[in-house]
Symmetry: C2
Subunit: 360 residues, 2 copies
């Protein structure tokens, strides 16, 4: 698999006239080699020239963590008193065009620019994004398995008590359930209750959930290298009429966007279809973010389902559809599933019930 | 506190002829403002000109998370279809010299370089590092509290069973204990048993710990914004003679380095003092990493205790002293405390017993 990906990356480098690809922290490196760089001040970097040998430059003390893959790269360890930027520069040769991992640290970007002054730097995603965006059957299967794992958690939460617990406690439960369900890592678990729900990326805190609260749970992690991401809504005890009405519109908006996600449709049209339903119900101004993001080895990646993105959907594109309604000081609502575009239409990977779950 | 830090940063910018400081992900931003940027594709960036108003550019959906600080910055939210790089470029004016956060993502560095073609880019650490390195009494107090919290865990672990549990299970226990002890975040918890100990950054896995194993536990997190980091060694049941002898040398090496950490001594001399003890015992080749790293709002920061770093220690410098011995295929040993340089000599912040703890 990695050998085949490497081959496709090299073909794309040739087409784009990129002489060397430099990958450090971020998802490109594990997607391409299975190895994930530690986000540390000690540089780990794959040096992949368009032709010739590939090197994985790595701190010597991390070398034991690397599974040797002679078919992919040679391990080039550096010692504590070596200069890893100079080492990468030597291995890169005299490139005119360098593509560097989008999340590489500024200190290494600036160092490499000084070391390779003749080179033009561009983003590695120009090389990798179009390849990573299209998931093959094995990747869709991994995304499906991760989705089903968080589906099961969303269903279990319907029978759990919410009132009297803090957001932080429910957050912790979600994290533990993701790990128990086979995720190697919990990436996030937003629990936003009552007025906190109006902050889309609310950090779960000490607020005690109480009767009448609307509670937004948005959680996901990484399982077999691929990500999950789901949002479901819970209400404690009785449901306010305004909440129920807004949620009914939101379910419709999400459904329309999912149905719009057919091969060939531009991403921005999928976004617009959710937005229209909310606008028609006079809720448009409260939907303050894009409709979705691509998902794969990274929790957020191309394609983004957002106004201005004219990329047409292709078979194997995987992305979230997650419209929301946020009323500052009062409550927030969001509904999110992962969807894959297929030749026979959109496939929802998440199957947990999408109603407003009433909990204790 | 933040107002005073901002003032000192501006003075240093003036001295270095830096026109604007741009801070995104990484520890400089929370150190300077209390706000931590989410590591996402949506740009959050503080734009701090050497004179004039400071702006916090932030995705609109994250704006509710920011505690307004009119004395520090103006919040400038951007919408999903805006170009945040162009926005930062406009707020930056026409700088000749830009200092950008060391961990800023390459995609934003390259975008800003294209937007501000007349500017020379350098690392923000040139501005902030010398300021962050020297901890005031409040910061030392926070580091001390974090150290005492993990000390208590290291002591508790002496009475816990190890044999029959996997590394991953002990890892999970350490993470939970750090959170229970008041850490807002567990940053890492290395549990490396038997031959896995020879990999300094071993990822805890499915290996079941057994009688006779040497187990390295290196764990730390963030508490009240400041980091903890401690390594202690455990042996299950009986202790091998070679392990005991090597550990005795290691304790001596660590003690010598701590004692060497007096104000005015270059960092590299502290490193050399640990290295000499191990070399004299013919263990030098098995000590494959630097002696330590600075610690503060970041788990690893300046000053690094490493050959080649001639920075003399100053009062308020805080750093780890953690020599190790790694025998591939057999075992690994490390002993780590956090130390602060003070006018009256080195202060160890960690006080948990440093002997080889015998556990079941």
């Amino acid at each position: 698999m990695y050998v085949e990906r490497l081959q496709r990356v090299r073909e794309r480098m040739a087409a784009l006239d990129v002489d060397v690809l430099l990958l450090s922290v971020g998802a490109d490196l594990p997607w391409l080699t299975g190895y994930e760089a530690m986000p540390l001040e000690r540089l780990t970097m794959l040096v992949l020239p368009s032709t010739g040998d590939t090197s994985l430059v790595i701190p010597r003390l991390e070398a034991p963590r690397v599974e040797p893959r002679d078919d992919l790269f040679e391990i080039v360890p550096w010692d504590e008193t070596d200069d890893p930027v100079a080492l990468v520069g030597r291995l890169a040769g005299r490139p005119r065009s360098v593509a560097i991992g989008d999340q590489s640290w500024a200190r290494f970007v600036l160092g490499l620019q000084a070391t390779l002054p003749q080179a033009r730097f561009r983003m590695a995603s120009e090389v990798t994004s179009s390849l990573r965006m299209v998931k093959d059957e094995g990747e869709v299967q991994a995304l499906r398995a991760a989705a089903r794992a968080v589906d099961a958690i969303a269903i279990e939460m319907r029978d759990r008590p919410f009132a009297g617990r803090t957001e932080a406690q429910v957050h912790q439960e979600l994290v533990e359930r993701m790990l128990d369900a086979g995720h190697q890592r919990a990436n996030f678990a937003i629990v936003a209750s009552g007025p906190n729900g109006a902050s889309p990326h609310h950090e779960p805190g000490s607020r005690v959930i109480e009767r009448g609260d609307v509670v937004l749970c948005d959680f996901g992690g990484t399982m077999q290298h691929y990500c999950s991401d789901i949002t479901r809504m819970f209400v404690v005890g009785e449901v306010d009429r305004e909440v129920r009405e807004a949620y009914t519109v939101l379910v419709e908006a999400q459904e329309r966007a999912v149905q719009a996600a057919v091969v060939g449709t531009p991403c921005e049209d999928v976004d617009a279809s959710a937005r229209k339903v909310l606008a028609d119900a006079a809720l448009g101004e409260h939907f303050i973010h894009r409709t979705g993001h691509g998902i794969g080895v990274e929790a957020h990646e191309d394609p983004y389902v957002v106004a201005g993105n004219t990329t047409p959907l292709a078979p194997g594109h995987a992305f979230s559809i997650e419209p929301g309604v946020y009323l500052p000081g009062r409550f927030g609502l969001r509904l999110e599933d992962i969807v894959v575009a297929t030749p026979t239409g959109p496939e929802r990977l998440n199957l947990a019930p999408r109603d407003l779950a009433v909990v204790d």
